[in-house]
Symmetry: C2
Subunit: 391 residues, 2 copies
């Protein structure tokens, strides 16, 4: 049996979610655009699901929820859709240095298309520097996009404060809430969010589905053009089974969030303490307290993350060395570099992300095997050798 | 029990397909970008599925298959992606008058963005006028996009001939094959297709997934930007359960196509004969022979399609009055208008699309109830009254 500690990269679909989806694959399969009674069932499922997701994030209106094919598409629709629609107001946008790769690549695309993008730095813990954010704001800034929490090091941003700064300057605020959703209670009204990306899988819903929350009064251009579904903002026949699944996942997440987050924080803190105590020259990346309940992110001097990952693979532990979205490239994590780590330090990192099925034994096992692996790898490391000579 | 005769709008997921997908929801759920062994399983599932779909359409290379969130997105990626990438070569594209609404709306979008779009007319049966197509070709034409078969009236286009004309003029050829896939054997090499849109659900696979076939040597710009999945052409974590499902669906479709199409053609022809014989002033829309095995499309003088649909709803028969994608608007079908019908004639239409679970009894039931419904509605119709007076 594999121990899975890579929940940030992908999550299994919750059993209850799967049960909720099931009838929509084979029995209630009609198109919600059809006028017959089978179509009516689909239309109702769509409306009910939209309501549940609106409730999950406390959106004021159900139609502020737009279904997309996933968080990446939501980020595209939010950012590209917004700036294309509003480019007459200005061509400057602000993001943070530690956004998800999809946001960074969208930024590059916009830069090639006549927009200017400023990146706000973060502190050593990965928290966005609000003083620097204020400095970057210009008269032609039309959008600020800063993630709710970081998908690698788990640092939670002061979202309400960021939104307040945006509002004071009459700038629209988007947040990629994928890493945070289901772990932290999100209230779009209280937080002052205008646009927010959500993923279904990150709350144990099915893959291939996401949501863009779009506050009333905010307008974006569509990215996918066609039959005019989702108020013309996202064409294509709606994926009803997945939509029903995500709605169920949101319902469950909302119900269990408090107890589950408490449980994960306990496991997380046991893990952090265990590793830092048992492994010399080990460090925690990210903030000690303002971090996601399920995230523990370490670095070990003189060790490569890739080697750690492969050694853990041999022990039957599935874990990530950096961000899963870029793990097949050899680039060091841009997030870790942004927190001030050197390339060597960044490469020695290991990301542990827990989830609903993570048990105390899994954590104990990691605490048990990791010290030996690190020690063994250090023996092989030329860097560690050098350091010893110096000592 | 409802009789479902609206397979063009939506199809149930095949039981075998659902079984193939199942393990990927809860057990084999990892991210294919992850380097651990769970990630390896996902990577293999992705590669195997790509191979099966390549085989389904006889693509030369597996990497000519790009997974998208559905046929609408495939059409966007094919057309917008192609013209944005190749606009230096020219800004003129050609589509037919009876393309799916998503293609027409993409065309409108392109016209607003500096491109010119010509629309080729069709004959009374819905077949693209090849003489007109040749006339519309200009030196700056970079793309021709013509559907494989029509999603409303079921007319099958002479795709290989169209592709040949495109090739002779060095123009890239895209076809939306959604209505045809699984019913007609498609061979992208023999047919000479450069870009082709497929939908998963249209071969009894899950919703929310599609494919763009892109021949080696053809280049498009991405629509959804992010982590660089699908060779950078379609970012976003891959929806492995749905991808596995679509691959299974393609495998089954390929295996059963011949026998199933034969079965459907028999049912279709019984239905067409039965309706045309029993209902006076009834007509078949589309071509009598060059039509999809599952499609029968009628019109009845002096009767509104909406009323027919609602009367059939009362009888427990789910059926479409036009194209499901636009059925919630009151516009007459652009396809029917393009074949030369008047608005009144187009409004009196009924689309019957059969599928894997359609039985002889379903067809018999429709043949039994429809004549009375049409007769009753005609008695209420002021148009019929007027006609009687004239008779």
């Amino acid at each position: 049996m594999t121990i899975y500690l890579d929940y940030q990269a992908s999550k299994p679909v919750d059993g209850e979610v799967f049960e909720a989806m099931k009838p929509y694959f084979q029995e209630k399969f009609a198109n919600s655009s059809s006028l017959h009674s089978d179509g009516d069932i689909a239309t109702k499922a769509l409306a009910d699901s939209r309501k549940k997701i609106a409730k999950f994030i406390n959106a004021e209106k159900d139609n502020e929820i737009i279904f997309t094919s996933g968080a990446t598409e939501s980020n595209n629709l939010a950012i590209i859709g917004y700036v294309m629609r509003n480019k007459k107001k200005g061509k400057h946008i602000i993001i943070s240095e530690i956004e998800h790769i999809s946001i960074h690549n969208i930024a590059k695309y916009l830069e090639r298309n006549g927009f200017e993008v400023s990146k706000v730095p973060v502190d050593f813990y990965g928290i966005v520097r609000l003083d620097k954010l204020k400095e970057k704001i210009r008269d032609d800034t039309i959008l600020i996009s800063i993630q709710y929490a970081n998908n690698e090091i788990g640092t939670i941003q002061p979202i309400a404060e960021i939104a307040k700064i945006a509002k004071e300057h009459n700038i629209t605020f988007h947040t990629d809430a994928v890493a945070a959703e289901g772990q932290i209670s999100i209230d779009v009204v209280k937080d002052g969010i205008d646009l927010m990306s959500l993923s279904s899988n990150d709350i144990y819903g099915p893959r291939g589905l996401g949501v863009l929350y779009m506050r009333k009064g905010i307008y974006v251009n569509p990215i996918v053009i066609g039959g005019g579904q989702e108020r013309g903002l996202r064409s294509g026949t709606e994926d009803i089974p997945s939509i029903v699944g995500m709605a169920k996942a949101a319902e469950i997440a909302q119900k269990n969030m408090e107890s589950e987050s408490k449980r994960l924080i306990e496991l997380r803190d046991i893990l952090i303490k265990g590793i830092l105590e048992r492994i010399p020259k080990s460090h925690l990346n990210g903030h000690p307290k303002k971090r996601l309940p399920n995230n523990a992110h370490f670095r070990f001097d003189y060790v490569e993350g890739e080697s750690l990952l492969l050694s853990l693979k041999d022990e039957g532990i599935s874990i990530a060395s950096g961000s899963a979205c870029t793990s097949k490239t050899l680039e060091p994590s841009h997030t870790l570099i942004a927190t001030g780590l050197t390339h060597e330090e960044a490469h020695g990192s290991l990301e542990v992300t827990m989830g609903k099925w993570t048990k105390r034994e899994d954590i104990d096992k990691l605490i048990e095997v990791l010290p030996n692996i690190v020690e063994r790898l250090r023996k092989l490391s030329p860097l560690a050798e050098k350091e010893k000579e110096v000592d």
